[in-house]
Symmetry: C2
Subunit: 250 residues, 2 copies
């Protein structure tokens, strides 16, 4: 069997507001789910503050480890928007006003309205390609394997639609969820571990949630090979069926 292609990515969330708890990040979950569907595996995520050294260090650490890095946040018009300059520094390239962006802005703003703050959003690292922003003009950009996107979810989501067009994609992850309901993890943990060991070509996770004083558990089988996922799913279902029968027989 040919090994399915694996394409990896990391997400870098940039912004003090996430680390202070003021803003609850919604971008990581969205990006992770979106990329999983097209066969790009998110392997790591980091959240860093609006501090240039931290952004540069994170970009440099991630871009060599994964096929792609997707950043969110810090590309607006205010003084705390320092992502573009940080990315330029990480890549050792110059940064300046991109005439393509200025031209697009002049479609919307009168020349007097093109404040220095707005011009700041036209600062794009040399050699970068623009990522279209259909919501509010100021674009994201791609340089090397790093995609730089806005932090506002609606804008980020629109940019992501464009960004993924230039990514290579791997085999999409096949995911099967099996409801274990109220069967405690402590009861099925041992046989599930045996199934996981016997089905090393998939990854099996057990995910409890807790509501109104009760746990509710789901078992998730993930893998790139449909048959392997189906076989592991069948084994999990058989195991849960046996546990239920044993409980009834008692």
């Amino acid at each position: 069997m040919m090994k399915p292609t694996t394409v990896t990515a990391a997400v870098l969330v940039i912004g003090d507001e996430i680390l202070s708890g003021r803003t609850k990040d919604r971008n990581l979950g969205y990006i992770a789910e979106y990329l999983a569907k097209i066969g790009v595996d998110v392997r790591e995520a980091r959240v860093v503050p609006d501090v240039e050294d931290e952004i540069v260090a994170a970009i440099n650490a991630l871009k060599v480890r994964y096929d792609y890095v997707l950043t969110t946040g810090g590309i607006g018009p205010t003084h705390d928007d320092i992502t573009a300059d940080s990315v330029a520094r990480a890549f050792g390239v110059a940064i300046g006003e991109d005439p393509r962006v200025i031209a697009a802005m002049l479609q919307r703003y009168k020349e007097g309205e093109l404040t220095p703050a707005r011009r700041r959003m036209a600062r794009i690292p040399a050699t970068a390609e623009l990522i279209e922003n259909p919501v509010s003009i100021a674009p994201g950009f791609r340089i090397g394997n790093v995609y730089v996107m806005a932090g506002v979810p609606a804008v980020m989501q629109a940019m992501l639609d464009s960004a993924v067009k230039t990514m290579k994609t791997g085999a999409a992850m096949q995911v099967e969820t099996i409801e274990a309901g109220g069967v405690p993890e402590g009861r099925y943990g041992d046989p599930l571990g045996a199934i996981a060991a016997a089905h090393a070509d998939v990854s099996i996770g057990s995910y409890p949630s807790y509501k109104d004083g009760r746990f509710n558990n789901q078992i998730v089988v993930r893998g790139k090979d449909e048959k392997a996922v189906a076989a592991a799913k069948a084994a999990v279902e058989a195991m849960l069926g046996k546990l239920a029968a044993d409980a009834t027989a008692r």
Copy 2:
């Protein structure tokens, strides 16, 4: 003036389910907000998969950089719960069944119900202190400056209440939010940047949100010194007032 004490922390979210997008993390935002209130600044967060080498590397990177590291996830009874073993490896200590945990479990489970899977939750690194779990018995633990907590939000939140009791805390962050409403960031970006430069003792952020085709902006002033925060807030309000007056006068 005495420099306010600064206490720093990092959050490490552990779990494949967050990186696949299956589960949307709610712990980082909760922890960040909680710690900010008691004067502990979250400076970085990472999300890593259920892979021992990744967990060990992240713990080792974070524990030397910040006063505290708080982890969530991976301490349940199933084969994919490998956080305790990874933390033991990061600290170079042994790990085994902790008799305190076994004793607590035997209060709840009959001896026959104490499956190997459940006993797995009693594996605690040597020298660690337990963090009480009032929801479902199996405890978290603290070793050195690393606090290891559950991933299920209700359980994590209960553990956090206990965990913070052993933390030193700094001066609490004072936060003021100023509604800029529909005034575009591009209009106030320049004067706001000047205010930020003149008030270097606070941090000022501008946060747009987008709904129904419109941006709505908030400016947030954060700092440990109440007077400095108040002064910066007054400057921002005066600036916004002037912009509004200019717009009316036109």
